[in-house]
Symmetry: C2
DNA sequence: GGGACTGCATACGGTACCGTATGCATACGC
DNA sequence: GCGTATGCATACGGTACCGTATGCAGTCCC
């Protein structure tokens, strides 16, 4: 990637390419992020692209790094906040239509790229821990919090899949939140922990 | 598609192409089912393909029909069987690694093709109803069975996603079954139904 | 105001597909 | 055993990409 100290007005920044790539990734999957296509989207030729990036792989990597950063950003932001705050933030982030499509695209991508899979899994584990912490904070026992947090994560993943496929599906943030609330309520009253 | 009354020995059947396509679909997604690639897989030229099929679209459609049939087959087979039998069959089918990869590939495909999405959703709804019926059979109230069956389906979908990405993930059929059992136990003891 | 560097445009060769056209050996019907 | 249809091979033109090479107008720097 070119490192220009003096960005001239009217010229493209690598971020422009990354944003365009993110839009395509979220919309139609990795296979659709093609440099010649992005160039058309941005109204320039691909000569521009290869000035900013070494190749398509570098763009995809920058994309992934940017996503990782933005995820870790909000995940770390309110580490000391109340359970309610962290839970609200989590729901807000994972039920946002735009983010949902990105998450789905990343997971599809991960299935064909070991490296991507590892990095997505890391962020995912972080989210599972967030849920686990919240569950503990609201009174779940240690092992129960861990076990049920994993099930909660599965529900979120399933929700992502369904919501990004079914057009009938309503994207109200309340729905996933309600579902999880009901689930957690049931889990708190039922068995202390799934045996695993 | 060509309809040959007399299949000569040593010659390919459309099913051979469909099977090869299924393997690629399950393994690497729709984008990977390419007629020239399949021809190489089968050790013939693509001239053969275009004798059996009109185009790539026809192959993909045949593929989908074949999947629908095989799903409806086992879904309908034991309609009158006991809840335990139907549940066991369901778990056996949805936790099989080979089928899991196919299910995931189909859902990724569905996201880019409205028609596929509709047909996948139909089968999916059928499975949700299977779960719902089982829940009712084991004592859940009407509304509770409906509500919790949807959550159970989300867990299955999340499981599909995770299991097909994470290499650490163990594909023991017991795991999904156990998870769902624990979930159902908790649901039976908790709130009667999520409010929706 | 004359290099030098920047940020792109253009053109090129290469690969991987698609679908069509056509040739051709083999088996089948009779 | 001979025409005919079958099941494929081969060759072709076309599209959509990739990455590289090179040209070139503008801007910066002094």
């Amino acid at each position: 990637m070119a490192t220009s100290a003096t960005a001239r007005v009217g010229s493209l920044h690598p971020d422009d390419w990354i944003r365009a790539a993110q839009a395509r990734l979220a919309g139609q999957g990795v296979e659709s992020v093609r440099v010649e296509v992005l160039a058309r989207d941005l109204g320039v030729s691909k000569g521009s692209f290869y000035w900013h990036f070494r190749d398509r792989g570098e763009l995809l990597d920058s994309l992934l790094v940017r996503w990782e950063d933005s995820e870790l950003d909000w995940l770390n932001r309110d580490d000391g906040a109340s359970a309610a705050t962290r839970w609200a933030r989590f729901l807000e982030r994972t039920a946002s239509p735009k983010r949902m499509r990105m998450e789905i695209a990343l997971r599809a991508w991960a299935r064909g790229d070991e490296g991507v899979a590892t990095r997505v899994a890391a962020i995912e584990k972080r989210k599972a821990r967030l849920i686990e912490d919240v569950l503990r904070d609201i009174g779940f026992a240690e092992t129960a919090a861990e076990s049920w947090s994993e099930v909660a994560l599965l529900i979120c993943l399933g929700w992502l899949d369904l919501a990004t496929r079914d057009k009938q599906f309503q994207f109200a943030s309340r729905s996933l939140g309600d579902l999880l609330s009901e689930f957690i309520l049931a889990a708190s009253g039922g068995s202390s922990a799934p045996n695993r």
